[in-house]
Symmetry: C2
Subunit: 293 residues, 2 copies
């Protein structure tokens, strides 16, 4: 069994990005610049955004954090988005979700210029991805594809099950893995709450992507010998043991499933760590105008 | 075995659309108006566009056909698209594909205002569809969903195989059938040229969508008793028997497969006839501003 080490890979990619940023600067190009908009004081959102800002510093990006209180008007937020769209120094930006109930997340996402949509949530980027065109791919599916690529895991012709049909993980990763590409070319079955005989489908699969957000859902009995298991679940539960008072649980019972696998991602230390580097990569791509000329 | 009669259903829908158009006119609203741009003199394209114009007349739409010779500049065609985007009398328009090699189809498609993209090919519409948001859905997948709905075929929890991963049929129908919706909620496996054990996957499926364009590919031995079979294949082959000198072949060996099915679409007379009514429906939706206010 080979552990897929998200910590190691994400550190490697950060070094690669930092090197490329340095080369850009040496050539006299502008410094890649990511902006993040944070509304309110949600604990998890604060942590995520702080992590993103810190990662920008690590690789040599410029970053800007724009904060609003949670009672901000939708129109004020939309104006900020329009300003960021126009601001030539900003290569890409994100609006941290969730937003307060009185603001339409979809309206905000669709207001972002697709050329600066480094979260890959705009329908144009999703649609282009489905068509197999260059596009900003959202952080979690991009991170999974990167791990598969870096570990040289063969996907062509393999049977793959994706458990969970969320817009930000299940649907896009099912599309990416079935595309005519490498990694890709897998025969993908997308499962969800209405799926019958889910256990049988998972047990028949060479590659299992668990992305339903139910801690410990995937048991040893559901996984075939030699399977590749990617655990996307990150559920925060209270813990008496950790200093923070929280611990993270995956969708897979790692201890019992791991011995059967050819490859498996741990939680924490797997897919989760890849999301920030996916965002950094997208920002670098945006700065280099690689997708939209 | 119940035959899914595309001829009957498409005629019914045309009557429904005609009735709604009359109601709009009675209320003093403008007449829905579809424009089609045809470049060159490709035989199949001429036939398709003529069929679309005729269908517009049948339901009381206004239609405009814009023709160019095949040596038209890309920029001239793009200008026409921009004019159609601005023209307030035009509710929706299509640019008939394929285009000559010197013109980028993707550039033309992306130049169309998504609000008038009644072919549903713009990445915004595809992306919105993936997200489960209201969107123009392209003709063939929309036609399949309509047939399934009108025949009351249950899809929730059913296993479904889609054979063929084209951008205009396989990918979108696989997404639609797995959405949280009715019809939808199926467990969908998307198969393609790299799929191993394709026969086994098809044989295990309650619903089979054959969309690979290989005449007679699906045999009786590949289909389980009681399956629903939707044949999207339309391959034109020469024939000594027909007046036109051509006949259409589906991907399914109808004669041997039909006796095993609970429902099956014939070719011709099945999915193909639904595509024009899907276009008419999209144009009506555009005229009523139901998707984009």
């Amino acid at each position: 069994m080979q552990l897929i080490d998200g910590k190691k890979i994400s550190a490697e990619i950060k070094v690669e990005i930092a090197r490329e940023v340095q080369q850009l600067k040496d050539r006299g190009c502008k410094t890649p610049h990511l902006a993040a908009v944070l509304v309110g004081h949600d604990g998890a959102s604060e942590t995520y955004v702080a992590g993103k800002v810190k990662a920008c510093e690590e690789v040599g990006f410029k970053s800007t954090l724009i904060r609003y209180e949670s009672d901000i008007d939708e129109s004020t937020l939309l104006n900020t988005v329009h300003e960021l769209n126009r601001n030539e120094d900003i290569d890409g930006f994100i609006v941290q979700l969730p937003l307060p109930d009185h603001i339409s997340e979809q309206k905000v996402i669709e207001a972002i210029d697709p050329r600066k949509d480094v979260d890959g949530f705009h329908p144009v980027n999703l649609g282009r991805m489905v068509l197999g065109l260059p596009a900003f791919i959202s952080a979690t599916p991009a991170g999974i594809m990167e791990l598969i690529k870096r570990y040289g895991i063969q996907t062509s012709g393999k049977s793959c099950v994706v458990v969970g049909r969320s817009n930000i993980v299940g649907k896009p990763i099912s599309i990416l893995l079935s595309q005519k590409a490498d990694p890709g070319d897998a025969t993908v079955t997308l499962c969800h709450s209405r799926t019958r005989n889910l256990d049988d489908v998972v047990r028949a699969s060479d590659i299992v992507i668990a992305a339903l957000g139910k801690p410990g859902f995937v048991t040893a009995g559901m996984v075939k010998e030699g399977a590749v298991v990617i655990d996307v679940g990150i559920t925060r539960v209270k813990s008496d043991v950790t200093k923070s008072g929280w611990k993270l649980l995956g969708d897979v019972r790692f201890d019992e499933v791991a011995p059967k696998c050819s490859y498996i991602t741990p939680v924490p230390g797997g897919v989760g760590l890849m999301t920030i580097v996916s965002l950094l990569k997208n920002t670098l791509i945006a700065a280099k105008h690689e997708i939209y000329p």
